[in-house]
Amino acid sequence: METVLEVRGVSKSFGGVQALKGVNFALRSGEVHALVGENGAGKSTLIKIISGALLPDRGEIFYLDQPVTIDSPRKAQEMGISTVYQEPLVYNELSAVENIFLGREIRKPWGSIDWKAQEEKTKALFASLGLPYHFLREPMGELSVGLQQLVLIAKALAYESKVIIFDEPTAILTEHETERLFDIITKLRMRGVGIIYISHRLEEIFRIADRVTVMRDGEVRGVFSIGEVNRDRIVELMAGRLLVEAIERKGKKSDAPLLVVENLSKRGRFSDVSFQVFPGEILGFFGLVGSGRTDIVQTIFGLMRQDSGNIIYQGKTVHFSSPEEAMQSDIAYLPEDRKVQGLFPILGVGYNISITFLKEILGSFGVVREKKERNRGEEYVRRLNIKTPNLKTKVYSLSGGNQQKVVIAKWLGTTPRVLILDEPTRGVDVASKSEIHNLIAHLADEGLGIVMISSELPEILKMSDRIVVMHEGKITGVFDRAEATAEDVIRAATGERLISVER
């Protein structure tokens, strides 16, 4: 088998962060080459470089043995490199046929679009893959995600692609759709298409891949034929010798739980989830995006309602129907998307901090006591070391780290007993990150019950007293800090059921 695409010594950095360090990667025609690694390992950056969305800082790319510069996704597609993303990018109002031929329509001699030829060609493409094609004229928006993916695969074939990249294609597919996709991938492989397959589901990789490349920290840690490697070895390489020193803690966890979640289920989101949060502990929640971790904490915070199961807070069963009610019971939730959910970017720092505890600083007739507001605001700016000219400065002009500190300040202001942190350090610089970590540890020492969701394994291992791992809406592992290893956590997050500590 010949090599269709080769990447040699590619490096890429963003700001001060080196996302790829001299990566080599080769794809043969007719092989399914899996790419695995934890979040932040560099998979997406590599894929973006191959598909023309990013340019490398250093290194070369060879396509069909020719050195090439891929400077736009369109160029990649025209060369024959197509990408099928997890959530297909399609024009919802247009039909499948129109989506496939958009921008390169088949035309009649006098310039009008030859609809018939387009449709015939699409049918032929679908038939060659052994697929039904009754839906070709319907708007894409009305098709299931699985069918949309098929259309994009057909589009890739219409461009006569020699490389097709699948970026977590099965994450939102049903079982039946997944089987069909595997069938198609097998057919594509037999036609000599080189396939890069990204997935967090290791069992899938052992089913359909020929080779696997493992990445960690922006480097390739190993390339194997699928026959000469096992699951444990891959997990070991993904985790590396992760030397994470646990953060120092002074406080002692109390014995009576603060928050108990019992058999919580919500259709399509999570099922039968049970865990407890104790005062003075940090409970880490690890799992991939879409594993249901955010849905669970949003249910606790009154943003969603469970189908069944109970939430017991301080010994009483509670149903918060809005964040307002959850806040009245001293529960705080720092959401994962600070710009959309956490902040009022066009308003001032002081406003953003005080909005959650405004009720506490009201005088008669509901007047905001501005002096008190200013004092509280200044107190948090000092305590969290927020770098801002003053309290009136609009939040959008601050750096990511300082913005995040503002969101933390706004929730500390409510003096919570349970503090839920959803990705507390995402997009935050290294210095602020460590400040935030110290603060979280300090808050737990003071007796708060902290739930910390994170996609970053080192963060989870550093901060957590206990770790809950989720996979596809279910808890697959609960670990005490002392016995948790990076490998075990990754295993549970990729779907192995490893509940070692039941509480």
Partner: protein
């Protein structure tokens, strides 16, 4: 010098203030009879009716989520007709009639608010529908069965009904001193000093973050649409008293002028940005313009065109200055 220039460009209030002063000087120098105590006090009464509606639009637009109220003119009309019919045809006590009329305005605003916030229908659609419904109701209310099936204006009011629209205190029109100024002060208090203002700007600038911060987005929106109904009702009462007649076509076209003034005053049509001072200045500029043009002998048919010109001209000028500053 540089910093003064920057201030003017960045601060829309200052920009509007200067625009106001320029117009004021031009009319004082160029138009006979403009700069007299009588004219200056007299013209303020014309700003009140449109001004109340502009404040209503400001509140609704500030609340975001595509907030707009196209029904203010119709609410004003229906309130005017309710008050007129109760006093003029049913012979009810004027005070009681006015209270009923104002409650009707609150109710109409509240219905808009419920449709927008609880049933989640787009404000443009809700208030477009209620524009026609309230307008039609006003026509129905105006029908006097004694004189056939056609809507009729009401003009037989007792003398004591005219105080709000026609009386003066120390030369200043009653409605300016005792309704418009208090309303401005109360709204200033609500928006700048009270917790409600904080919630309103929060909901308007980022609805999702407001929800995640424990603010009841639905309640805030319900309140602003209800307040818009109240302000429209006040305007309907004043106008009926001033012209001594309740006409079923009285509020025609006011909604668009009110929206225009709010936008001229610096209210961001996307919500969350805008101040009461800016809108009051917007009202002042338009009142000045209408009055000055009238005194200069320019026919009324030019009024709406000039409103449009001021809007587009001021926004354009602001952008031009902003663009120049970048170099």
């Amino acid at each position: 010098m540089k910093s003064v220039f920057n201030q003017i460009v960045e601060n829309r209030m200052l920009f509007l203030l200067i625009l106001f002063l320029i117009l004021f000087v031009i009319f004082s120098v160029g138009v006979r009879g403009f700069f007299t105590f009588y004219n200056l006090t007299n013209m303020t009464q014309y700003g009140v009716e449109l001004g109340l509606l502009a404040l209503a639009e400001m509140l609704v637009i500030l609340s975001g989520g595509g907030g707009i109220d196209l029904s203010v003119g119709s609410m004003l009309t229906l309130v005017a007709m309710v008050i007129g019919v109760l006093i003029g045809r049913a012979g009810l006590n004027p005070s009681l009639s006015i209270i009923i009329g104002i409650l009707a305005g609150l109710g109409m605003g509240c219905v808009n608010g419920i449709l927008v916030s609880y049933l989640r229908i787009l404000p443009l659609i809700v208030t477009l529908a209620s524009l026609y419904i309230y307008k039609s109701l006003a026509l129905i209310v105006a029908v006097d069965p004694r004189f056939g099936p056609n809507p009729m204006p009401v003009s037989n009011f007792p003398e004591n009904f005219y105080f709000v629209g026609q009386f003066r205190v120390g030369g200043i029109p009653f409605q300016v001193l005792f309704i418009f100024l208090p309303v401005i002060l109360i709204l200033y208090f609500l928006l700048e000093k009270h917790a409600f203002g904080r919630y309103l700007y929060g909901v308007g600038s980022n609805e999702k973050a407001a929800l995640f911060s424990g603010i009841s987005v639905t309640r805030v929106r319900l309140v602003v649409y209800t307040l818009a109904g109240l302000l429209s009702a006040l305007s309907g009462w004043i106008i009926t008293s001033r012209i001594a007649s309740a006409r079923p076509d009285i509020g025609l076209g006011y909604e668009m002028q009110a929206i225009t003034i709010a936008v001229l005053g610096g209210v961001n049509i996307k919500g969350g940005e805008g101040t009461i001072g800016g809108v009051v200045l917007g009202v002042a500029i338009i009142t000045l313009l209408y009055n000055g043009m009238q005194l200069a002998g320019i026919h009324q048919i030019w009024q709406l065109g000039s409103l449009g010109l001021v809007l587009v001209g001021s926004v354009f000028l602001n952008q031009l200055l902003l663009a120049r500053r970048k170099f």
